[in-house]
Symmetry: C2
Subunit: 440 residues, 2 copies
């Protein structure tokens, strides 16, 4: 069946000049990660069980859901020595590539560290903000087919750079399968403990703590619908990162980038899974055809051809627009996770790009470089959430405390204003507390 379409390409074709463009674009972008009532109920049950019975519940769920037969948490715990071994046993090429990536990611994130600040006013009053790291962070790493060592680096290194005292990683091992590249990445990234647990039960263990698993302050990292539902439920008790949708890329080409390069850039997004989204925009119609031709030609050579075809057919698109202004409007409307500006002068576009998770500029900057080793984080806001959220960063593992130290003179002056406003809100104890500091 697939052979019949070997040299064909099924992908959505849109043009901004089409009468139904808005409707079709809207439909193409629509995504809602729904956790139905059944998922919600199962997750509630798991959260309650782990909160009440701790390790015992963790062991039961892990045995049942990951098809294990362990007797206790000791068998679900990996120590630092095990991580080091995994690292030391890697082939040299992989070990060096991981080290290169880790070093670049660390260097980039060092630039992100917010700093504490204070200033003193004329009357001696001091105001400021103190930045401190979290005590403990939990990193969720998916197991099985989507166990990505690069994700371990991207989630754990910012926490380490932030100064988090203890980094706890959880990774399920369905059928007992353990990925040594993942453990090696944990070693390089500065992870302190690893527990081979997953699903909603792992989220519960991190949020509530058990006899063995320490309670963390924030849980980050991607997971399936059970993990996402559990994270949403424990939000407030602990911090969480964004709940991720499928990965997406928006490529804008001025027509001068090699069509084969662009085809492969789009494939690299589509190969993630059937729900991934790869979109190319250009005002050069001939160029769009050239890329389509390159895609059709290269598709049969892909290892993950079936996934790519499914993704392109349902969610992929080639969009013809009128000009650069329309391309910019589309960028800001889509607010893409990944934006590739495959144009001659990408820096000139920046001031007008309002919403994008990461911006890959110029013909040489394949998104895949950013996924692994350019330095910036590959955990990015998906499904249009770049409208209001940011790449995972050092700032996600730190928090701020406001600082206020009033001089006697400052307190006296501020007391008058506070008193008027507090009385306007009928909060008279507030007013009187301020008034005590007013000097005669």
């Amino acid at each position: 069946m697939r052979e019949a379409s070997a040299n064909s390409l099924e992908i959505n074709r849109l043009a901004t000049s089409d009468g139904d463009f808005d409707t079709r674009l809207e439909a193409l972008l629509a995504w809602e990660g729904v956790s139905d009532a059944e998922v919600q109920q199962r997750v509630s049950g798991i959260l309650a069980a782990v909160q009440q019975r701790g390790d015992a519940a963790l062991v039961e769920y892990s045995n049942r859901l990951d098809r294990l037969s362990v007797a206790g948490m000791a068998e679900l715990t990996l120590d630092a020595e095990r991580l080091r071994q995994a690292h030391d046993n890697l082939p040299a090429e992989q070990r060096e590539a991981l080290a290169h990536a880790a070093e670049r990611i660390r260097h980039y994130h060092e630039q992100q560290k917010p700093t504490s600040w204070q200033y003193t006013e004329a009357d001696g009053t001091v105001l400021g903000q103190q930045v401190t790291p979290l005590d403990r962070a939990g990193i969720y790493v998916p197991g099985g087919k989507a166990a990505y060592p690069s994700s371990v680096l991207m989630n754990a290194i910012p926490a380490h750079v932030a100064g988090v005292a203890e980094i706890v990683m959880v990774v399920p091992t369905p059928d007992g399968v353990l990925n040594d590249l993942v453990l090696a990445a944990a070693y390089l990234a500065g992870v302190d403990h690893v527990f081979t647990i997953g699903g909603a039960q792992a989220v519960a263990a991190l949020a509530y703590g058990t006899e063995t698993v320490p309670r963390v302050d924030k849980i980050v990292g991607p997971g399936n619908i059970y993990v996402a539902t559990a994270k949403r439920a424990v939000f407030g008790r602990v911090g969480i990162d964004m709940i991720a949708g499928p990965s997406e890329i928006l490529v804008v080409s001025d027509g001068q980038t090699d069509a084969d390069w662009l085809a492969m850039d789009l494939f690299s997004q589509a190969e993630h899974d059937e729900d991934a989204q790869a979109i190319l925009i250009s005002w050069d119609a001939e160029h769009l055809e050239a890329v389509a031709e390159a895609m059709a030609r290269q598709l049969p050579t892909l290892e993950r051809e079936n996934i790519v075809r499914a993704s392109l057919a349902s969610r992929g698109a080639l969009i013809h627009c009128r000009d650069q202004d329309e391309a910019l409007a589309l960028i800001n409307r889509v607010a893409p996770e990944h934006l590739e500006l495959s144009v001659a002068e990408p820096q000139a576009w920046l001031p007008q790009v309002r919403h994008a998770g990461a911006i890959f500029m110029g013909r040489h900057t394949a998104e895949a470089l950013g996924d692994y080793c350019a330095g910036p984080n590959h955990v990015l806001p998906t499904s249009g959430t770049a409208r209001f959220s940011s790449p995972l960063g050092v700032y996600d593992f730190q928090k701020r405390s406001s600082l206020i130290q009033c001089s006697p003179q400052g307190a006296s002056r501020l007391g008058t204003t506070a008193s008027v406003l507090a009385r306007g809100e009928s909060l008279t104890a507030h007013a009187r507390s301020a008034e005590y500091r007013i000097r005669d």
Copy 2:
């Protein structure tokens, strides 16, 4: 009944030397804002109705739940002129106090603005991060008894300083009651539109947009359990701030601050509502008694005496500890929303304070000054969430985009590393996309 206790004080007394101290402290701090199944279901119904029927549903719910009888959204919309009028009609004293507060809050938040940055590596590769404001922010302001103009300033000014293009405020008017101080604050803070709607229906309108209410990118501001449940439900579609629990203060005194001052500082927290929490810690037992005596003496003079008594009896505490080190350990365990360091050298304590929303330093810095006009935000993490979250700030109304521009040489070098790692993850289209950029 209240008269019988006129000169008495009911408050929890704890000492770190007690055998059951940990258990009692834990019980005292415990707080869970539960939205039961019934609330969840009602909120789901409201969200779905507003998403599907827009303005019509908004008008229906507002009429029913706020006991109004309006015919359409025009009657639930206030224009800029109405806000200006509210401001201009205020008594001069209130107008000046609001202006003084707004100016100080604006100045402090100006210091918080993160800036975009880029750096260039030896091979010409450019990395960085671009900071941009949200397009549109929604501010939820509670109506009725808890309609606080100071909250309008604290929520809207950071958005305005961040450069948010459009600030939309919603405030319910139960029984048609409108608070002119709230509108005046909106005018000063730079709010663009006000809709007099509230509850889950207002959250839905901001998250989905209706014919009249523009869809926003993030919703901030406190609300009741329906508002909190609705915010949690729309999280992901829009950004939200933390879901707030009851307000709390932890005061640490070295025994040298006037007992009457401290009593009023504790009352100013307790007067918020029965669930508010006021705790005083000292290693000076006599001082604790002096504050207790001052509280008992002053209690009958309070306008909100009944609320304060209820709050102190159920959630208030005087805690005797051994020394400064124990006080610091308690601070970090509680992670208080407000921390008052009523001690001689508060700056010396800072490096050891890991978790607190806002730190009020010295005997003159009443928390009430920070609530209104010191400058820092009064929207702070409650219920121990200062372990992982920050005061509301300019950073909540901005987001970041990663910037990556590889030089041909940089892309070639990074391509080798990316290729090895991508093949290790079996993502071969990623590998090939990177390999295209490797030079021979």
